[in-house]
């Protein structure tokens, strides 16, 4: 995958590896999403932080990057840091201290917990790439962002398969969400498709590997396949919050 000249490697974990600069990027970890729901009476399995952390640990052990960028919404809400178990906190702290670690601020976590280590920043530029949580409206060459949780569907032998995905037109890249309980938004929603006026391709995250799929091969959900009034739907579809 080439984004603004940088050769990037979409990883099966849902993260992004940039071998040339030894950088690993993970978007939308949403730590403690489960316990955030529990506060409101939905007692979801309290293992999402552990699952997300393990996926992250494995990817880092395999790819051995020097730098790690968490692309915002790393924590589901302001109380997430407090609700984490000590064990998770310790393991996360160990990861932070073993790498050059950046927490980019997101809308869920404008102020990531300070006691875990790492550096909190609004955005970050490395080489020809700019890392931020939410995409800038309008063209933004070299932007790598999260926030939108893209998913794509492809029809194979009469079955529709839906997976989270990377979406890029070679100029900018929208990353899939990394967290264990994070839902998704179809790439043809205006919030995502609107970022790529000239079209885009996706890299779908499968069980064993990431597959590049041409944008023209994807199924457009019927509710988006229409020729009038673009832009109306996206506002009401929104992204999960």
């Amino acid at each position: 995958m080439l984004v603004n000249g940088a050769r990037l490697q979409p990883d099966v974990s849902g993260g992004l590896f940039w071998p040339e600069r030894s950088v690993f990027v993970a978007a939308d970890l949403h730590f403690e999403k489960g316990s955030a729901y529990a506060r409101h009476g939905s007692l979801l399995p309290p293992y999402d932080s552990q699952a997300t952390l393990e996926t992250l640990e494995n990817a880092l052990a395999r790819l051995k990057p020097q730098t790690v960028i968490c692309l915002g919404d790393s924590f589901h809400d302001a109380g997430a840091g407090q609700r984490m178990t000590q064990e998770i906190r310790d393991r996360l702290r160990a990861l932070c201290s073993a790498h050059q670690w950046f927490w980019i601020a997101g809308n869920h976590d404008p102020d990531p917990p300070a006691d875990l280590g790492g550096t909190c920043v609004e955005s970050l530029a490395i080489g020809h790439l700019a890392f931020r949580h939410e995409p800038f409206p309008g063209p933004a060459t070299g932007e790598v962002c999260g926030h939108l949780h893209p998913c794509a569907s492809v029809a194979v032998k009469g079955r529709s398969l839906r997976r989270r995905c990377f979406a890029s037109d070679g100029a900018r890249l929208v990353m899939p969400s990394f967290g264990a309980y994070t839902g998704g938004l179809d790439v043809f929603e205006d919030a995502i498709a609107g970022l790529f006026p000239g079209g885009f391709d996706v890299w779908m995250v499968g069980r064993d590997r990431v597959r590049e799929i041409k944008g023209s091969r994807l199924s457009v959900p019927a509710r988006l396949a229409r020729d009038d009034a673009p832009g109306k739907m996206a506002a009401s579809a929104g992204k999960e919050r």
């Binding site: 009476g41 399995p45 309290p46 293992y47």
Partner: protein
């Protein structure tokens, strides 16, 4: 008239004069079973009334309460609770009861309460309950969850549970019976009257009504034996397919000769197709209507009203009309496709002709040869008086979890007491205290060994060892999520700039693109767009719509039905009653291969088109065969046989591979139900779907939040993630156990598969053939359809059919 009076004379003087006068005034006599109910109740017993439809069963159920109310007067709070599985039935029964109540000038209030009742009336019903309340299991659960439940139900005298046979063994039945267990505590002296169609094991139903011994069984006089025929079309019985298109001409002619026909089919898409075809033939302009669960409620009510007036010649319908009020004008029931169950068939047949002295008339229309065998089996079962066995023994743990939270919502409870209460009802009779406590723990904290949610508990212990609900918000959330039916996400279908036509499953629409045409509500529509959860469509001029491909029903043939089906193949005597071309087919099978004898499982292997096929005929239904196919291909993979795919229907399973199977017996050993099954099930999408349903019912995943509706699609997506995480970190969680329990009896039908494997052990008959056998032609045709794929494949299919049949019947 005098003879009626004479009969009434010697009945015990249990019937107050106002009642006997009313009966006499109508020219009716009290039926013996109605009197038997009054007598039993007089003696303090509960009652199970088993009678065919049209036997005055409903009146029998209400007579004791009406008599009591007439004598004691109403106005002392809720006196009689009537529970029915159908909302529509509560309304109809109310209407039917109003007549005697008015004519006898009984002073009592009679009201219905369902999810459709306006909120203001529901509130008033809580504050000031009517004498007789007609409701559904869901509404009962809701009423029981209010803190004032003991006041509402404190003076309850009678519970009338209608269509008990339809509720028993389902999650809604579990919900009802748990509600009844609570009513036993709130109103210990109330009596119950259960109404049911004929069932194989009435003891199981009696358990719903009370402790042993106190239930009197009243059997209504059965009607005349039904007159059932199988339509054998002048054309040959088709080899495969589910449409029964070949017989529509004769079907139409039959409808012309009767007053009103109910035409039952097994799926909605089939209903659409049959309706469309009948209209195409309808040169006489007969009033023919369509009725299925996806049509809008107004649409359905309109059809029902027209039906009640006797204004329709035929209604094409699905299980939506299995139950319901009696329509006197129906004089023929037609079943298109396989009957699937003996009781189901009897229920449907019972919808015709409610005069006791004349037989119900039914016509079975099989769509293919195996369906013909199944129709024949149903006919023999009904002739021999064989019924289906009880479907399910164990109550759902998810329903129990819902009940526990509901009880907490009504007030603090003592777990030990609630356990004693719950095990009084049959679906939970053998539940251990340990399992019960795990469900309570799930309700309280989520039941996770990582005790992460202790500060977010839904239930808190009180000082006296009881459990109370954490806050009113949890109770409110619970009340929004009551119910045990989890529906697929549906979208409204609306004519562009017009009215709503009905609702359609989202998964179907997701497969369509703008401009695609589909058959719905009897017409072909073009998809225009989807907005705000509505599908906008325009009428299409095309008459070749894209229809859902899934042809068969979702239910497997019942075990007893399958048993007789196997007997028909095994016993030459039974085969003599089959149509000639079907007999020829089976004779050809005996010549080219064998017909399995009773207790045997036939396995055939043959090469074809460079592949090797293995076909077996368990007749256990598609879900069990699907599971068997998955497990067998895994094993064949390990043996290096290179399995490439499999195909199954309700009757047979075919697997094709690169190398031939030499010895199927070890492959079919029941040990496949061990690790292989575990491993496969873990990833099965069917299990994830079951988990979603269990999660919604158990309150893990919310159905809807106050103020915002979650779309079913979102539920699907996130529940898969929850499932994966839970399986990885807490594989023994009680909801996974609940999911497994449900899937083994339901979508995966592991229980039935296990029974089959044990049964055929040592009785597997292998036939190594050099080409397809006649018996395998139907499933082989389905394979060629799958491989060719799509609708445009019909021409190819015809060709393939000719080839296959010729190949199977070639003598040398």
């Amino acid at each position: 008239m005098s003879s009626l009076a004479a009969r009434n004379d010697h009945l015990p003087a249990l019937l107050p004069p106002v009642f006997s006068d009313w009966f006499a005034g109508r020219g009716w006599s009290v039926r013996p079973h109605q009197m038997a109910v009054v007598e039993a109740v007089e003696q303090g017993n509960s009652c199970l009334v088993i009678a065919p439809t049209g036997g005055g069963k409903t009146l029998a159920g209400f007579l004791p309460s009406l008599i009591d109310l007439a004598e004691q007067g109403g106005g002392n709070g809720l006196h009689t609770l009537y529970v029915s599985p159908l909302k529509a039935l509560t309304i109809d029964i109310k209407r039917n009861l109003e007549t005697p109540v008015e004519e006898m000038k009984l002073k009592l209030r009679l009201e219905a309460r369902t999810g459709d009742t306006p909120a203001s009336r529901r509130q008033r019903q809580r504050r000031d309950p009517p004498d007789i309340l007609l409701t559904t299991p869901e509404s009962l659960a809701l009423l029981l969850s209010y803190p004032d439940a003991s006041r509402i139900f404190g003076n309850l005298k009678f519970v009338v549970a209608d269509e008990l046979h339809a509720l028993a063994g389902t999650k809604r039945g579990d919900q009802l019976v748990l509600g009844l267990s609570r009513l036993s505590r709130l109103a210990p002296n109330h009596q119950r009257i259960g109404l049911s169609a004929t069932v194989a094991e009435p003891d199981k139903l009696e358990g719903y009504l009370g402790r042993n011994g106190s239930v009197t069984r009243v059997i209504g006089r059965g009607g005349v034996k039904p007159d059932i025929r199988i339509l054998v079309s002048g054309e040959r019985v088709p080899w495969s397919g589910h449409t029964a298109k070949h017989s529509f001409g004769e079907l139409y002619e039959t409808i012309r000769t009767v007053d009103t026909a109910l035409v039952f089919v097994n799926t909605r898409s089939q209903a659409e197709l049959v309706f469309q075809e009948l209209w195409r033939l309808n040169d006489d302009g007969m009033a023919i209507a369509l009725h299925h669960g996806s049509l809008s409620v107004e649409n359905r009510r309109k059809v029902e009203a027209a039906m009640a007036k006797g204004g329709l010649r035929a209604v094409v319908c699905t299980s939506t009309l299995d139950l319901g009020v009696d329509w006197g004008s129906v004089d023929l029931v037609i079943q298109i496709g396989a009957p699937k169950g003996i009781s189901r068939m009897l229920q449907r047949i019972g919808r015709s002709n409610h005069r006791m002295d004349e037989p119900s008339r039914a016509l079975l229309v099989p769509a293919n040869r195996f369906e013909l065998l199944e129709c024949r089996a149903a006919l023999e079962a009904i002739g021999e008086g064989i019924l289906d066995g009880a479907p399910r023994e164990q109550g759902g743990l998810d329903v129990l979890a819902q009940h526990i939270l509901g009880m907490a919502a009504s007030g603090p409870f003592d777990p030990a007491e609630l356990y004693e209460e719950v095990i009084t009802v049959p679906p939970y009779g053998d539940m251990t205290r340990e399992l019960f406590d795990r469900v309570v723990e799930y309700v309280a904290t989520g039941g996770y060994s990582l005790r992460a949610y202790d500060k977010f508990k839904r239930l808190y212990p009180t000082d006296d060892g009881r459990l109370r609900i954490a806050n009113e918000r949890i109770a409110q959330q619970f009340r929004m999520n009551i119910g045990t039916i989890v529906e697929d996400a549906k979208l409204k279908v609306r004519r562009k700039r017009g009215r709503v036509i009905g609702e359609i499953e989202e998964y179907f629409i997701l497969g369509l693109e703008k401009g695609d045409t589909f058959l719905f509500a009897g017409q072909v529509w073009t998809l225009d767009s989807i907005r705000d959860m509505e599908v906008l469509v325009t009428q299409s001029k095309s008459d070749t719509p894209q229809i859902p491909i899934y042809g068969g029903g979702k239910f497997p043939p019942t075990t007893n039905l399958a048993d007789i089906l196997r007997k028909i193949l095994a016993e030459p005597e039974r085969r003599k009653r089959l149509p000639i071309d079907v007999q020829d087919w089976l004779r050809m099978q005996e010549y080219r291969s064998v017909l399995p004898r009773q207790g045997e499982l036939l396995v055939e292997t043959f090469p074809r088109g460079g592949k090797f096929y293995m076909v077996c005929y368990p007749f256990e239904g598609r879900p069990a065969h699907q599971t068997l196919g998955m497990l067998l291909t895994r094993r064949m993979e390990r043996q290096g046989l290179g399995p490439m795919g499999f195909m199954c229907n309700d009757y047979a399973l075919a697997i094709w591979s690169l190398r031939p199977v030499e010895d199927p017996a070890p492959l079919l050993d029941e040990d496949m139900l061990g690790d292989d099954l575990e491993e496969w099930m873990a990833d099965s999408s069917l299990l994830k779907r079951t988990f979603r349903n269990v999660g919604v019912v158990a309150g893990l995943i919310e159905r809807k939040h106050p103020g915002k509706e979650k779309s079913g699609r979102q539920v699907t997506f996130s529940s898969d993630l929850l499932y994966d995480v839970l399986r990885r970190y807490e594989p023994d969680h009680v909801l996974l156990q609940a999911t497994w329990r449900e899937a083994s009896g339901g979508l995966l039908d592991v229980r039935r598969l296990g029974d089959m494997l044990r049964r055929v052990k040592g009785c597997i008959v292998l036939q190594k053939l050099d080409r397809v056998s006649p018996l395998s032609v139907p499933i082989m045709l389905e394979i060629s359809k799958l491989i060719v794929g799509g609708d445009a494949a019909d021409d190819l299919l015809d060709e393939a059919e000719t080839d296959l049949v010729a190949e199977a019947e070639r003598m040398l």
